[in-house]
């Protein structure tokens, strides 16, 4: 299972990197989003994909799952959600103001 997840994470990263390297701003944002999903899956995998009950005292389970990676991912997802929303809004505004979403034309060389 861990092997499969690792391959999936690798796939996410390669797709994300491919998108981030493209010219269009919206594809870049989608790329960062996919990369951070890859990272979230990686955190889940790194905690060990054990089968078991919740880690509660007095329960009848003898094997437990590690709940910490899930807590970490939850926080990371919320943060990523906020940043992606802000990024999308800002890219829309940039497109409206500057009239382009091509990263080549957004290079900051004009004022030098």
């Amino acid at each position: 299972m861990e092997t499969l997840m690792s391959i999936l994470v690798g796939l996410f990263f390669s797709i994300g990197t491919y998108l981030v390297l493209s010219k269009s701003l919206i594809r870049i944002i989608l790329g960062t989003s996919i990369i951070s999903h890859g990272v979230n899956l990686l955190i889940l995998t790194m905690g060990g994909l054990k089968k078991g009950g919740p880690p509660l005292l007095g329960g009848i389970n003898t094997t437990f799952t590690d709940s910490l990676p899930q807590a970490l991912i939850l926080t990371a997802i919320v943060i990523n959600f906020a940043v992606t929303a802000l990024f999308l809004v800002l890219s829309y505004r940039t497109y409206k103001t500057l009239g382009t979403d091509d990263m080549d034309q957004l290079r900051g060389m004009k004022d030098e």
């Binding site: 990371a76 943060i79 940043v83 957004l106």
Partner: protein, 494 residues
């Protein structure tokens, strides 16, 4: 357990939240923001007293024993940085009152400013790696807003790149967290340090350490500074000053924390690489500062040189080097804010940032000129101003650990910094005055007070270095002796 420790995070956060409710009442927002920042500076002073008397202060959120709960830790290093943060934030805020403009003020400038301070303070105080990530994000999201607030063309263009870089480096940060959790099963700094000491820092851990160096280096502009010069020249003066003073310092703080507390077992690999990166940063930054004829560019490249220099102290890994870094870090926070405010005032007076189009400002603005002169000398580390002592200790540290090349590069780049900033001074303030008072685009009215205060601070920090020596020594001691930190956090539950 000490509840005061969390105050520097809570106070600006709550003040910022309250301010959102009073969007139109700018007078109230100004008052509350000053009050909140002064309060958090006051708490930092109290903390410094407590740490000096009773050792490192900790707070376990909810009473959960470490490493299971969230830990907030204040050692002398954090407390010193907290105090400098509050001082600089206060003066940049006063500067912003007059310069930021009505539009930005009524669009939540002050709340985001305070959230930025919340994130910075949080990063200095947090005791585990994941909360460091969270505080980084709080700081970064506020900085995204501050850099793009106003929506001018250059701001939008640069903020897009700034956000992209930081989103990617945050992903890499989480990647490092994931690997570290897989290997060591914990994220608490003190516990991590214990586990690494038990298991030994093998090749894999060193690789992860270098991943963290890359991530924090991106935030601190250590070698990976390609994003910085343009991002820092986009926003308004007050915002650029607070960015230059604080944002890179948070990355520097994280590097110091990780590489003195957790990954200190293989200095011949990690610290040597830090040294090489620091040297490259200094050289490239100094070349940039010397090459440009644009005030904004020269100042932003000077930020980069400072980062490299502080890292040289860490690379030497001797008590002198680290002590020098502490002194220089505090000095750098103050002086970067001051020099950015001064440079920004010059730009707003003349309406241009090109050196060749400005001359002879000293006739109409003598105080501005002399303050710039003092700030320039202090930046280059001329005695008796505040930069000098840090430079001496860092250079001594690098010589003691036999990194002569590193110390040499540090001294050489200091000269280049002096040249670059004197170039600004001579071009702007000397020569023919072809800008009469009536033709000026802006005014210095109300702006002199914060800049004057910062100038006085940089002089008194240089002359009165004895006064903070005891605190700096304690900070160095706690950095070089991880046992103190571990004992304070883990206590009896080891």
């Amino acid at each position: 357990m000490n509840n005061v420790v969390i105050m520097p995070i809570i106070i600006p956060l709550i003040a910022g939240l309250i301010m959102i409710l009073f969007r139109q009442n700018i007078r109230f927002q100004r008052f509350l923001s000053i009050l909140a920042i002064m309060a958090s500076g006051f708490v930092a002073v109290i903390l410094m007293g407590q740490i000096k008397g009773k050792g490192i202060q900790t707070l376990q959120a909810g009473g959960w024993d470490p490493p299971f709960g969230i830990t907030i830790v204040a050692d002398m290093f954090s407390a010193l940085l907290l105090l400098s943060t509050s001082i600089v934030a206060l003066f940049c805020l006063i500067f912003a009152f007059k310069s930021i403009g009505k539009e930005r003020e009524s669009h939540y400038f002050y709340p985001f400013y305070l959230f930025l301070i919340t994130g910075v303070n949080g990063s200095f105080l947090t005791g585990d790696l994941f909360n460091l990530f969270v505080c980084f994000e709080v700081m970064l999201i506020s900085s995204y807003v501050l850099i793009s607030l106003g929506g001018t063309k250059i701001q939008l263009r640069e903020s897009i790149k700034y956000i992209l870089i930081n989103v990617l480096s945050s992903s890499l940060f989480l990647l490092g967290v994931a690997y570290l959790y897989a290997m060591l099963g914990t994220l608490n700094f003190a516990h991590l340090s214990l586990r690494v000491a038990e298991a030994g820092q093998d090749g894999l851990l060193t690789t992860v350490a270098l991943l963290f160096l890359m991530v924090f280096g991106m935030k601190a502009a250590l070698f990976l500074f390609f994003w910085l010069p343009e991002a820092y020249s986009a926003p308004p003066i007050a915002v650029a000053a607070i960015f230059a003073a604080l944002l890179t310092k948070v990355g520097i703080y994280a590097i110091f924390r990780m590489f003195t507390l957790v990954f200190y077992h293989e200095p011949q690999i990690t610290h040597l690489i830090i040294g090489i990166l620091g040297a490259l940063t200094m050289i490239l930054g100094a070349i940039g500062a010397v090459a440009y004829w644009d005030i904004k560019k020269i100042l932003t490249y000077n930020v980069i040189v400072g980062v490299g220099f502080i890292m040289a102290g860490l690379a030497s890994f001797t008590s002198n080097g680290i002590m020098g870094s502490m002194y220089y870090l505090i000095h750098d926070i103050l002086i970067k804010a001051l020099i950015f405010l001064l440079g920004g005032t010059i730009i707003s007076l003349t309406g241009t940032s090109k050196l060749k189009e400005i001359s002879g400002l000293i006739r109409n603005h003598p105080y501005l000129g002399w303050m710039f002169f003092i700030a320039a000398l202090s930046l280059a580390g001329i005695p008796p101003l505040s930069g000098f002592l840090g430079k001496v200790f860092i250079t001594r540290g690098t010589f003691e650990s036999e990194y002569y090349w590193l110390g040499g590069i540090g001294l050489l780049t200091s000269l280049m910094v002096l040249y670059s900033i004197m170039k600004v001074f001579m071009n702007v303030f000397w020569g023919e005055t072809h800008l009469s008072k009536e033709m000026e685009k802006g005014t210095t009215k109300g702006l002199m007070f914060p800049m004057g205060c910062l100038t006085v601070l940089t002089i008194s920090l240089g002359l009165g270095a004895e006064g903070i020596h005891e605190y700096v020594r304690l900070a160095t001691e706690s950095l070089l002796n991880p046992k103190l930190y571990i004992e304070a956090v883990m206590g009896g539950s080891q």
